[in-house]
């Protein structure tokens, strides 16, 4: 069955989403700026330089308060008003397409817009709060897009430009890639994500376009284990670690070469829990004591396009990226890994007991 308008199979229509071609106002992620700042910065370069997209990078937007909201610190009214301020900045800058780096933020912005859609009286109240606190007014975004959406949209165009495919240099076979979609990307509002919650293709589609193979495994759609307050409080951090361990054990038999995630939190947990599991249980999930390298969608695209791994911040991963670089045949300078902004060679970080580092 197809729709007359575009010949898209009708059943799949609900799994499509609108992703604007150009002109975006960009909001950054708190978590990513801290732990994977290269991913945050290279997205801007990819969009502006490689894709020629007009992107407004505003230094005055704040956190969306998403983490604070989901740990029950920040009231819903406050979160909505802070989000409204971001929309006000977008409006003042002359934009109507809103590009979000973080998946928690993406879920919250969608939740707020949904509440306003169903309860105009709440939107009105928020407008009053915002005006009282800041004197600002706003238009709602016409198009709300996550960073992984836009990479997905232009995956074929990027694939035409890539220098390194997701293919083993040694065997010529596609690399085995685990894709992990952050829960708040499409589990709350499936219609807001490419492929919805049941058939999310926002990452696997990009991976395939870049030559990689996608692994289907048990627990593929399970949460990374963040758990918000469960992680932030040391007393309940076992929740997060146990859930992460379950994911690694489920993917282990498929011998993944790479994990790709679209959520800064998920990237962090897949990267860091491999270190913790190696220290606590003596287990590693890659080959010969290595971990499974973990990339964000931006890092993946940039690496394939031929950006220097250290320029995109891959030295800040605890789980070493080098096994992937070697498999892909990426040319890199091992001696430049720990150079600083000034060009100074910084003293290397301490090596974990078991998990290999370079």
């Amino acid at each position: 069955m197809t729709t007359k308008a575009n010949n898209t199979p009708f059943l799949w229509r609900e799994y499509q989403k609108e992703i604007a071609d150009d002109h975006y106002y960009y909001v950054r992620s708190c978590v990513r700026q801290n732990f994977f700042p290269g991913a945050e910065q290279i997205l801007i370069t990819l969009l502006k330089k490689d894709l020629g997209i007009d992107l407004c990078v505003d230094s005055e937007h704040t956190t969306c308060t998403g983490i604070g909201y989901h740990v029950d610190l920040v009231k819903l009214e406050t979160a909505m008003t802070v989000n409204a301020r971001q929309f006000a900045l977008m409006t003042e800058a002359g934009y109507s397409n809103f590009l979000v780096s973080c998946v928690t933020s993406f879920g919250l912005y969608n939740e707020v817009l949904e509440i306003w859609d169903k309860h105009p009286e709440i939107e009105e109240q928020v407008r009053e709060y915002l005006f009282k606190a800041t004197g600002r007014t706003f238009n709602k975004p016409k198009n709300l897009v996550h960073a992984s959406d836009i990479i997905y949209k232009y995956r074929d165009l990027l694939a035409d430009k890539i220098r390194y495919k997701l293919v083993s240099k040694e065997t010529g076979e596609p690399l085995r890639v685990i894709d992990h979609i952050g829960c708040h990307y499409a589990k709350i509002f499936p219609e807001k994500g490419v492929g919805g919650a049941e058939y999310p293709s926002v990452l696997s589609g990009t991976v395939k376009a870049f030559g990689g193979g996608s692994i289907d495994y048990p627990e593929r759609r399970m949460c990374c284990g963040f758990g918000f307050r469960q992680y932030f409080l040391k007393s309940s951090r076992g929740y997060s670690l146990s859930t992460g361990y379950k994911k690694f054990k489920a993917m282990e038999p498929y011998k993944p070469d790479l994990i790709v995630a679209n959520c800064p939190g998920c990237n962090y947990f897949f990267d860091r829990w491999q270190y913790v599991i190696s220290e606590l249980k003596g287990e590693t999930f890659g080959e010969e004591g290595n971990g499974i390298p973990v990339l964000s969608a931006e890092e993946l695209a940039a690496l394939c396009l031929g950006y220097d791994p250290w320029e995109i911040g891959l030295q800040m991963h605890q789980t070493a990226i080098e096994p992937l670089l070697i498999k892909m045949g990426v040319q890199y300078d091992p001696n430049a890994k720990y150079k600083g902004f000034s060009g100074e060679q910084l003293k290397k970080p301490k090596i974990p007991e078991l998990l290999k580092a370079y």
Partner: protein, 236 residues
């Protein structure tokens, strides 16, 4: 006094989180928290279908509502479009507003979260900022984080060259005007008041239990609250 249920029903998250639960248990089957804790989202939804003040008060005072990890997998799978994860947000909000959260060691951990995240938001404009995160608080950050912290200027300035300074790169310093607006929003919408409530309630609990507390983050009460929520229960 207004009934607890009437207050809960005013919360938009309750209105959209519960339509009609058929007790199928799909939410519990898929819930990461249910596989870790004695936690059952199906039971929560079922309990809220009965307009019973006693049951609701018990939920608001108990540990159960604090176990959810907010992944919202329950929302996706529910065949009746319920969202126990949203109900939890509404319940926690009411538990805080009524002060019942102080009856649960896990509820009382709002204090530690306020210190860790709330103060960072109001001081820096970010939920998390490298300056307040170290491997004592979060050992899993690993040796790479110790390296980042030791060389923070050299590392972060590679990505936009505005670490803790004005500019548009990562971890830029937000302007005084922006921070003022953010703080005003928190004040106008009631979260500042909520933060003060967490401080006052924690100070009272610390006094009751004889645990030292002050304005610094690493006070004894914070450490116990953050690492061992049952500690101040045992001290009583």
């Amino acid at each position: 006094m207004e009934k607890l249920f009437d207050r809960l029903k005013k919360d938009v998250r309750f209105q959209h989180g519960l339509t009609s639960c058929i007790n199928c248990g799909t939410c519990t089957a898929i819930c990461p928290a249910a596989s870790i804790y004695d936690y059952d989202p199906r039971e929560i939804a079922d309990q809220l279908q009965v307009d019973d003040e006693t049951i609701l008060e018990k939920l608001l005072k108990g540990d159960t509502i604090w176990y959810c990890g907010q992944c919202m997998s329950c929302k996706t799978r529910c065949p009746r479009d319920n969202a126990p994860g949203l109900l939890i947000l509404a319940l926690r909000n009411l538990s805080i507003e009524t002060g019942y959260y102080m009856h649960s060691p896990r509820g009382r951990q709002m204090y530690a979260l306020k210190k860790l995240i709330g103060e960072t938001i109001l001081a820096k404009g970010y939920c998390v900022h490298a300056d307040g995160v170290d491997t004592n608080l979060f050992p899993e950050l690993g040796p790479i984080w110790d390296w980042v912290k030791k060389n923070s200027e050299e590392v972060y300035n590679q990505f936009g060259n505005s670490y803790n300074r004005r500019g548009s790169g990562v971890l830029r310093k937000l302007s005084d005007e922006t921070m003022h607006e953010l703080n005003e929003i928190f004040a106008v919408t009631g979260t500042t008041q909520r933060f003060n409530q967490f401080e006052e309630d924690a100070a009272e609990q610390a006094e009751k239990t004889g645990i030292d507390i002050d304005e610094s983050i690493w006070n004894d009460y914070f450490r116990n609250n953050y690492e061992n929520p049952d500690y101040d229960d045992k001290s009583q």
